[in-house]
């Protein structure tokens, strides 16, 4: 369904953020993209919907090369890709309902959207989604009145109302506490399963990723260095992705702590607990 071929991105500063990434995502598969900061995870996700322009390579979505699309074609392609952000990226001064409905902007004309006259079936769907993510009584609240976890749920509803085939999820839990992180990850994965959605989830937290997804792709300095099941992440593989560290110790500790254990991230203060 999504296929990346030799995708590269070179920033104006000369940094090669992506060095020929090949990736194949079948329909309905949720995969986690892990790697150290600066490995190009965010760049990869943003290249797929061209918030960042890739330098070369192909991005094939349902057989269509996204990199060759003009402005109108790109807008239609973006409707098929929902995006969820680390800092939620809700429009702070709009209500929850307006934020959810903004996911439909690609389908609704300018004046209809300007006067907030969305088709009734869309509004019904928005209410249904808000109920699904547990925010039905918040529809009329302004987005900046919500907590982090609630905002991320609005972000999820906004992505889903697009009716996408693919979710691009950029560090969905990095600004959330461990419990909320798990809830959000669980929600995203459940929704993907319900709707047969494929998803690429950028995530720092290796343990959290292993808990929820079927496939993990490790990125290091713009190259894929691991692609396989979650339990294939041996200390050697983690060393290859992140660099030298006593991974075995972390993992043993993790085993002691489970099932109550927190997600342990590189550099996470919780790792010391």
């Amino acid at each position: 369904m999504l296929r990346l071929e030799k995708l590269t991105k070179k920033y104006k500063t000369g940094d090669m953020a992506l060095k020929g990434v090949d990736l194949d995502v079948p329909p309905g598969q949720v995969l986690a993209l892990i790697g150290p900061s600066g490995a190009g995870k965010s760049t990869l996700i943003r290249c797929i919907n061209r918030l960042v322009e890739p330098s070369s390579g192909r991005i094939e979505l349902n057989g269509e090369d996204v990199t060759r699309l003009g402005a109108g074609g790109l807008r239609r392609a973006r409707r098929r890709m929902g995006m969820i952000f680390q800092e939620y990226a809700l429009v702070e001064r709009l209500t929850v309902m307006e934020n959810v409905l903004s996911g439909q902007l690609g389908y609704v004309g300018f004046w209809r959207s300007y006067f907030r006259r969305f088709p009734q079936e869309i509004v019904t769907e928005a209410f249904r989604l808000l109920e699904r993510v547990g925010l039905e009584q918040f529809a009329d609240k302004r987005a900046d009145q919500l907590s982090g976890g609630q905002r991320q749920r609005v972000g999820i509803a906004r992505a889903l109302i697009q009716g996408p085939d693919l979710l691009l999820v950029d560090e969905p839990t990095a600004s959330l506490d461990p419990k909320t992180s798990r809830q959000i990850m669980r929600l995203i994965c459940e929704l993907c399963a319900e709707r047969q959605l494929a998803a690429i989830i950028n995530i720092h937290d290796v343990v959290l990723a292993q808990m929820f997804v079927q496939r993990i792709v490790g990125l290091r300095l713009g190259e894929v260095v691991y692609d396989g099941p979650p339990d294939g992440l041996t200390p050697e593989v983690l060393t290859e992705i992140y660099g030298e560290e006593d991974w075995a110790a972390t993992r043993d500790k993790e085993a002691d702590e489970t099932p109550a254990g927190h997600g342990v991230t590189e550099g996470d203060p919780l790792a010391a607990m």
Binding site: N49, L51, R75, R76, A77, R78, R79, M81, G82, M83, F85, E87, A89, L90, V91, E92, R93, L94, E98, S102, G103, Q104, L105, G106, Y107, F110, S113, Y114, G155, R158, Q162, L168
Partner: protein, 271 residues
Amino acid sequence: MPIGEQAGAKVWQRRTTKHQLGIWFGWLLGVALFLFCWKQISDVTTWAFFWDVPRIAGDIGGRMIPPRWSYIDKLWVPLWDTLNIATLGTAIAIVMAVPVAFLAARNTTPSATLIRPIALLIIVSSRSINSLIWALLLVSIIGPGILAGTIAIGLRSIGFVAKLLYEAIEEIDKTQVEAISATGASRWQVMAYGIMPQIAPAFAGIAVFRWDINIRESTVLGLVGAGGIGLQLSSSLNILAWPQVTLILIAILVAVVVSEWVSAKVRHAII
């Protein structure tokens, strides 16, 4: 080298001795320059006029009191004109300034090499010319009256409103715009959903603030024949009708106080 050693203990000073001496020398130069200028001005001042000041000020002040209250009947229309000049001028300015601001902001301009400099030029030229000078020009072009004043206020305000607005646009949160773009929204929808809500408070604040300034500016436009209460002020001054001048000054003061109160209320309600 503010860190040194004295008797085995590390000492810290804010500045090195050399730096400190340099600062004292700077102050010395400043004071010397001030005294020199004082002397120059004093030499060319006709002190006889200066010693006269209290007597003449007292004389005019005496003639200004009491104000000629009955003259207020002739001021209602000019006051209304002044208010209209300020309000309509601000409205014109806002309508023209919004597109200019979007063209001037780095993150929304269609072309940073061609269109942005043009927009900035519009802003600078509007801002660099005082509304009184705009009014002088316009009175000679379209003749004296309210229209000239309104357009003068409008032209002067475009730059002000556009400058503050484009700075607000440049400071918006980029990820909110990205999120709206990522849904497949069109350029105009991104503007309406991603950018407008973010700049709305700044926009309202700027508009009311400029209206408030324009009330004050439009009170003097009459001096050059561009309508409003300044016309009465100028003619009263010319015929040395001091009690009328007092009343006009009081009227202007009241108008300005009221406009400041209104703009403070509106800004408070929005932000």
